[in-house]
Amino acid sequence: MAMADWLSPDQWSAVALSLKVSLWATVLSLPFGVAVAYVLARYQFWGKQVLNGVVHLPLILPPVVTGYLLLLTFGRRGAVGSFLDEAFGLVFAFRWTGAALAAAVMAFPLMVRAIRLAIEAVDPKLEQAAATLGATRVRVFATVTLPLILPGVVAGAILAFAKAMGEFGATITFVSNIPGQTQTLPLAIYSFLQVPGGDSQAAQLVLIAVVIALAALFLSEWVGRAVARRISGS
């Protein structure tokens, strides 16, 4: 309540929207992140370097370029965008869903990196041992690999969440800067700085961004340690 009074409706909606966009972006991309990280860490196949390159592309491309590519693909007239619209009524262009997609794509390489490192740290010999005991591949993953990489998955998720909270270039290019619809925290800060006298409102949002970022960092440390303790059993 106090928070809502302290912030203007525009500011409040930007904070709420950013949390919503980042949360959905993180939660929905997590299974894909784990799957891609697993494939990259454990399998040798033709085209592995291509997959690796595509995953890392958003990290090295200018964000504006990524946003524009998203617009071409997932826009109303884009190949994938028009299909999803007709088949499922799912629209990305100029909606918060598009902001979530942009955030997910931009955060994906960081998430995959963290999880892949965790998977590579798991001795494949343990997975072999599980298989000799009759476990199917799915059971091996669920009972051996996943529990052991959980700290890495948590770290990857929180890293992705933090990246999603700060995403700017791809979002503004793909879904524009519509207050209440696609204006996330960074876009709101940018907009306030564009109008005379908006500095103080921007400063308030900056403060909130810092608090959220630090909270995410502490949470990740705490969860990581708790999970590691559970695994080692000490």
Partner: protein, 362 residues
């Protein structure tokens, strides 16, 4: 119960070309590191898919390259005990033990209790693997493999990572396992003492090939296999019954060739044991020696002589119903005129026999 393995596989410069059949009991793969033993076990487990071959366990074809049969690892009904245990670090000992257990009985019923009691790990069930000693880890790993109700038990140097004390702790469990269960066991080792105690069938490997395969007792007492087994570790096993525990710390044994006195053996009077006598610990004499400190003087007949390329010779002897090997110099073999059919005496210092060479007769 039988095991039939035929396989060919190339890894770069290394070619594996192996073929052997084994009846029930413990089949030991023996050879230097790098001779391909682990690859054979991994092929039987399904962790390695050979380029060609056929692997059959009890009439069940696990692999046949011609018929394109390859049963995946998790359908092979195995128990695999690895050199490093490979316990799951995030699970308790109990959770590790029942990971492969197919039924409730194996989870908590009499079967579980029996395996846990046999291995002496009742007090470890709530612990994590990180809090176990090397010997405890290996016992848990053996229990985990057994509770999966395997049709075939694979053991890849299960004792190699342990010190002598821990080995001595686990070997009796393996001997009991051989006696009490009818699961065929494929056992990899490069330690002669272990192989001599456990193996019913021996497969000698060298550079990816089988140099010799057959009944263990036969191969171990054959002078011709000594070079492959190693001069310093060659030796044959005597079978004996514990007759008495003497007051001066010796144990009196009755073998078919006579009485043996050895340093205290922890076994009940009447127990049947086997004692491996190293070829290099045996001295030969044509006449019964007198005034000698050695306590064991056994009458024997020379059954084979193998003169080595170097200064040594290996003499095979029949002592009662057992076979002995003696390693002497060529010079002595010629001077004593040791030839097939010659009577002589095998002399053995009591203290030469190490505890690790004494096992349960199988």
């Amino acid at each position: 119960m039988s095991l039939s393995v035929r396989l060919a596989h190339r890894f770069g410069d290394f070619a594996l070309d192996v073929s052997f059949d084994a009846p029930a009991g413990v089949t030991a793969l023996f050879g230097r590191s790098g001779s391909g033993k682990t690859s054979v076990v991994n092929a039987v487990a399904g962790l390695l898919r050979p380029q060609a071959g056929r692997i059959v366990v009890d009439d069940r074809v696990l692999f046949d390259s011609d018929e394109r049969i390859f049963v995946p690892v998790h359908h092979r009904s195995l128990g695999y005990v690895f050199q490093e245990g490979r316990l799951f670090p995030h699970m308790s000992v109990r959770q590790n033990l029942v990971y492969g257990a197919p039924s409730r009985d194996a989870h908590s019923g009499p079967e579980f209790d029996r395996v846990v009691a046999t291995l002496g790990i009742e007090n470890l069930l709530q612990r994590r693997p990180g809090a176990l000693s090397g010997g405890e880890k290996q016992r848990v790993a053996i229990g985990r493999a057994l509770l999966a109700r395997p049709r075939l038990l694979l053991m890849d140097e299960p004792l190699a990572a342990l010190d002598d004390h821990r080995k001595a702790e686990i070997l009796p469990y393996l001997e009991r396992l051989r006696a009490e269960s009818d699961i065929p066991i494929l056992y990899v080792s490069h330690t002669m003492a272990e192989v001599a105690r456990l193996a019913t069938t021996l497969v000698l490997m060298e550079a990816g090939r089988v140099v010799r395969a057959g009944p263990a007792a036969e191969i171990l007492s054959d002078p011709d296999s000594v070079p492959a087994l190693g001069l310093r570790t060659a030796g044959a096993s005597l079978h004996a019954v514990v007759a008495a525990q003497e007051e001066d710390g010796l144990t009196r044994l009755e073998a078919s060739c006579g009485v043996l006195l050895l340093p205290r053996i922890e076994a009940a009077v009447g127990a049947r044991i086997s004692v491996r006598i190293l070829a290099q610990d045996v001295i030969l004499s044509r006449t019964r020696p007198e005034g000698l400190s050695a306590l064991n003087i056994l009458p024997a007949v020379v059954t084979a002589v193998r003169l080595g390329d170097g200064p040594g010779a290996i003499i095979q002897l029949r002592a009662g119903e057992d076979v002995l090997l003696a390693r002497v110099t060529r010079r002595s073999a010629l001077a004593l005129e040791l030839e097939v059919g010659v009577d002589c005496f095998a002399i053995l210092k009591s203290v030469a026999v190490a505890q690790s060479e004494v096992g349960v007769a199988g």
